[in-house]
Symmetry: C2
Subunit: 336 residues, 2 copies
Amino acid sequence: MPTIVASEVQKLVETLLHRFGVPAELAEVQTSVLLEAELRGVASHGILRVPRILRRIENGVTNPLATGLHDWTSPGFLKVDGDRGLGPVIATRAIDAIADRALETGVAVAAISNSNHVGMLAWYAERIANRGQTLIGFSTSEALVHPWGGGTAMIGTNPITIGVPTDDGAFVMDTATSIVSMGKIHDYANRGQVIPEGWGVDASGEPSTDPVAVKVGAISPFGGAKGYALGLAFELLVASLTGSALGRDVLGTLDDTEPCTKGDLFIVINGSGGALSAYLDAIRALPPANGFDEVRVPGDRAQSTRAQRLAQGIPVGAEVWAELLQIAEATASKER
Amino acid sequence: MPTIVASEVQKLVETLLHRFGVPAELAEVQTSVLLEAELRGVASHGILRVPRILRRIENGVTNPLATGLHDWTSPGFLKVDGDRGLGPVIATRAIDAIADRALETGVAVAAISNSNHVGMLAWYAERIANRGQTLIGFSTSEALVHPWGGGTAMIGTNPITIGVPTDDGAFVMDTATSIVSMGKIHDYANRGQVIPEGWGVDASGEPSTDPVAVKVGAISPFGGAKGYALGLAFELLVASLTGSALGRDVLGTLDDTEPCTKGDLFIVINGSGGALSAYLDAIRALPPANGFDEVRVPGDRAQSTRAQRLAQGIPVGAEVWAELLQIAEATASKER
């Protein structure tokens, strides 16, 4: 695995986006969300997404210039038509707008449709918590998860993020409602390894430890019936308020040719934060259970990985990196 | 187990509350939340709570007359000092106020502190969804749940509820972030049965299947690290915005003498709902997996239990019912 310094990753991705028609300011936002995922060890939301993003621009299903059409349907409700724009560009402009509005109204909502893959939700939660405000965010995805008690993929991996300002920086939680990402299933398949029991079912709905079978079957919700309930509730919440598609009608984050029909929902609440860090430190100071070397708070591992990777570089997938370099070479003449 | 018709349960609980100084209108709200829990099969949030509610009024830590002090700190943010009132009374008045406000502003938040146990959160989600609006609700509780990787109770059972209006009635999801309720642990202990592996740890933080040991230890979060992350995020979110206590400083829902220091947070978003029922019906129509007789949507089982119990009566705990009758007899002279 090649190890690349963050600035070099950033430069290459920004260059590629620029060559495909993304203005510099917008390319910077898209790149930042991908790069932060790499820095935090969330490779599934990192630069492996770049070739698809470029192909979608080429195919006309992503608009590289769009920043979103804002419609304040009431003082606290911002309806955003993403105009087929880059997910992070549309979402960042939307959350900044509702964070500004929440300074006056106390709370504001952005309901985004017609926008592309939003990337790692934690990025948005941290951005707003660093402003001293609270963010709750949801996004939907292609149907990859089966309901509890049924074996067919009908629900997105539907993540939730929560960012809360504290007296010691932002607390950020970000989790999918699937037990694992489809990216990890692909990863096991590529390495020819079996997956743990409970991660998914095959196309006939039977539990399977064969990642190749689960790829065409469904991932399980995390935590059984409760995780299923959460994932389904997020699907309905987002679809109801954004007008996005539901279940198997969601397209456009895993393909190169379909307009993206998922939705994103963000709520920003104006809050002063509070003296929360003593509580978090008390949790960190607990004696670890058997099999654990420490008790972590959500975000701790990501932050330590981030610090390490900023200092020592990012281990990136050899194939992905080679592909990006190849696209760079093939498009060198496009330099503007 | 005696089976009692709903109207009789309602009458007895309202009578008792009235005798302890709760005005009729407020007693009706508190009773409705308890009764709906019984009707839906959530006994842990039903009439077994009544003796404690009455003792807390007697001990002066619950104010039977309070309806909450409302302070609109901004157009969309309602700060509620519960004035030590009955949880359902304070919460219902708060959500009605923010639901009205959201008609104008698009979204509004109620941050409630100094209020008693709020009961089954689904009740609030359903109330608002039935108005054609969306509700997201959170509440905290005494520290009963251990962090993932640590064996000490530091986090509440912190439930979330989501209510979404659909073209076929309210969709309501309500789940705690603990794998099981402490009420169920007590139930196993009372019956002398072992609990399933993974439900909790003993006082030394070791996993245990002895409910008596887990009662003084900690319940596990549902879904491992992800459920832990959610429960902790909800704890911080609620405490940050309501000013309620954190972790082991939360008191007053499991005792008779401490002012209640947990918080409740509700968000109402004005939304027209949508044609969601075809999607839910498609999920229900899936072939059930092995070991399941049907694929259910959250709320389905509660609604079918409710219909049955409305028709055939509610099986209530013999001891609880006897205790309520005994209190009724002892307080007969208090009839006003």
